[in-house]
């Protein structure tokens, strides 16, 4: 028992030291914490899973039961120097409030932009069994055509003629012509100053609006394509649309 008691704190100590090294953006002496929070919306209003009724640009009414996507390779840029979070893979799941924010330590600095990948990079798609946010338990990994679903929406609409009026967009594909990965960069506006202070906490609030999935540049009508469950042309069209879903709403230096 005593050995167990001794091992436990030792284990945690090792684990946390390991994590700190992984987030090697931060030099231990000169770092603060950056928290990134995602707010998932439809036309600016927070998503109401299952209960909300929404209308897309083609006057098709639908509801949303699942909305989740991967954010990876989060990188902050200061005067042209990139500070990259190591092992940066985050599953943002509207159904799991704990997943909507993540924090990591970052070197004290003033930053002008943030970039991230919407999806999971190709290497991780071909590197075998993963854990944490990349665990296949999260229902974001295809079992018959190996690879991650980068973003997923499920819901219902009377305009869908498939079983139970399902609407399902499982968007994935990481190689060649099927690649749906989107590297997105956002410059902070003049009134959004991200200043990481020593031992301080700053927060970036990012809005993800589902309404963008339906158009610009590609019109996606439920009546025509209620289901997308494989990599390919349709997935690419939807991904082109959803690459516009993010807006930096606010930057707060607490």
């Amino acid at each position: 028992m005593i050995t167990k008691l001794l091992i436990l704190p030792l284990f945690f100590a090792v684990t946390f030291t390991g994590n700190k090294q992984q987030n090697s953006m931060a030099a231990a002496d000169h770092s603060g914490t950056l928290k990134i929070t995602f707010i998932n919306t439809v036309k600016g209003e927070p998503i109401q899973l299952n209960t909300g009724n929404y209308t897309n640009p083609f006057a098709e009414v639908y509801s949303i039961s699942k909305f989740k996507y991967y954010i990876s390779d989060v990188t902050l840029s200061s005067s042209g120097i990139n500070f990259r979070q190591q092992e940066s893979y985050h599953l943002i799941d509207e159904n799991n409030s704990a997943s909507l924010s993540f924090s990591f330590s970052l070197t004290t600095n003033t930053y002008q932009s943030i970039s991230f990948l919407l999806g999971v990079d190709s290497i991780k798609n071909v590197s075998g069994a993963q854990t944490g946010d990349l665990d296949p338990l999260n229902d974001m990994f295809w079992t018959w055509n190996s690879g991650y679903i980068m973003a997923k929406m499920e819901g219902k609409s009377l305009q869908s003629k498939v079983v139970n009026n399902k609407v399902e967009f499982h968007i994935g594909g990481f190689s060649g012509t099927h690649n749906v990965l989107k590297k997105l960069q956002f410059n902070f506006s003049a009134n959004q100053i991200l200043q990481i202070k020593k031992d301080g906490l700053s927060e970036i609030i990012i809005q993800a609006d589902f309404d963008t999935w339906w158009q610009n540049p590609n019109d996606i009508r439920i009546a025509e394509t209620p289901i997308c469950s494989v990599p390919g042309a349709l997935a690419k069209k939807i991904a082109d649309n959803y690459s516009n879903m993010f807006t930096i709403k606010n930057v707060i230096n607490h």
Binding site: N125, F141, S146, A233
Partner: protein, 358 residues
């Protein structure tokens, strides 16, 4: 008088209780120490992945992030043979991958799954997987570790969910200890389970058939086998390349489309019409044990397979492999000699190895 008896009996009761309690505590103490011993991290016994002499290096190191240990291998083997990985307990990995059939499904075109379902393709043999960059007939699986997710969650195979399998393993009395032995802590998660299974399946090497012994100078072909080998090199080897007896490519070998399955093979994975009706070239090692043949197990004998290549195959499909446009001319005598040679590819030292057995 009565009270003395009462007192005596009370003393006896207390004494007995004390003794029982003492035994219990000592026993419990012992039990704890036994548990601790089992829980204590074991020294990993590292295993070397040995590439058979003269073989090419595998295209990628499947154990780069999954160092082979005896403990990991043994855990993977237990999982491979454990029916609890399936929903109703009847379908371990081994139900479709039988050792005596070179880990294919003996005498089954399709395999049985949950609720009397049939699979839609012939269960492939499992050996020399480290040389295979893409698994399954259509190459849809890109890493050995993630392969089990397919059959495990398929409603016509093991029909389970990852959640449920992990729950069963966690509440088992033995598995937490085995996971600790293999991975350092008792934590059971999907990554560890999949890595352990890969340690077992990837370790199944078949490189000790008569053919291999001849190559190493330890045995000699008979005249018929020798002739068959020469024929093999000109007629079969372009696709069934030595020493793995496959080039791991995807080809259309001119089979008609099964009207029930309408299986177009690799096209489903790549969405490319040029891949229509292409399936993986299987290894010919242990071919005598892995019947029936082809992706849907439609041919029950090697004689029928050779007949397919010399006279049966459809030459009008646009994606037919260029090597097959004129079929493969093989005389009856050549066919017999080829069969003699193919017989030399059976590796009973693998199919009977206690190390891979349940």
């Amino acid at each position: 008088m009565l009270s003395i008896i009462k007192l005596k009996s009370r003393i006896i009761i207390w004494l007995c209780t004390g003794i029982i309690l003492f035994i219990f505590l000592v026993g419990a103490g012992k039990k704890t120490s036994i548990t601790q011993q089992l829980d204590a991290p074991e020294n990993p016994i590292y295993l070397e992945f040995k590439i058979p002499a003269g073989w090419p290096k595998p295209p990628a190191n499947i154990y780069a992030n999954n160092r082979l240990t005896e403990q990991g291998f043994q855990l993977g083997k237990k999982l491979f043979y454990d029916g609890r990985l399936s929903k109703d307990g009847h379908f371990p990995c081994a139900s479709c991958h039988q050792q005596f059939a070179a880990f294919a499904n003996y005498d089954h075109d399709f395999s049985h799954g949950f609720k009397d379902a049939f699979t839609t393709r012939n269960a492939p043999a499992l050996f020399n997987l480290a040389w295979m960059t893409k698994l399954h007939w259509d190459g849809g699986i890109n890493h050995i570790e993630v392969q089990p997710l397919g059959p495990l969650t398929s409603v016509i195979e093991m029909a389970e969910t990852l959640d449920s399998v992990l729950y069963k393993l966690k509440k088992d009395s033995v598995y937490p200890k085995l996971f600790k032995a293999a991975f350092g802590t008792t934590e059971i998660n999907s990554q560890r389970m999949l890595k352990a299974i890969a340690q077992f399946t990837g370790s199944i090497i078949s490189a000790n058939s008569k053919y291999d012994k001849v190559q190493r100078g330890e045995a000699k072909f008979t005249l018929s086998e020798e002739n068959g080998f020469a024929l093999f090199k000109t007629k079969c080897a372009p696709c069934h390349k030595e020493p793995l007896f496959t080039d791991n490519s995807f080809r259309n070998n001119g089979l008609s489309v099964n009207p029930f399955l309408k299986d177009y093979g690799r096209q489903r994975i790549t969405n490319d019409k040029n891949d229509s009706l292409k399936f993986k070239v299987p290894s010919l090692r242990n071919i005598m044990l892995t019947f029936p043949y082809m992706h849907d197990g439609r041919l029950y004998s090697l004689s029928a397979v050779i007949d397919h290549y010399r006279s049966g195959l459809i030459t009008t499909q646009p994606t037919l492999d260029p090597l097959l446009v004129n079929r493969i001319p093989i005389s009856n005598n050549e066919k017999n000699e080829l069969l003699y040679f193919l017989n030399t590819l059976t590796d009973t030292s693998m199919t009977k190895a206690a190390r891979f057995a349940q």
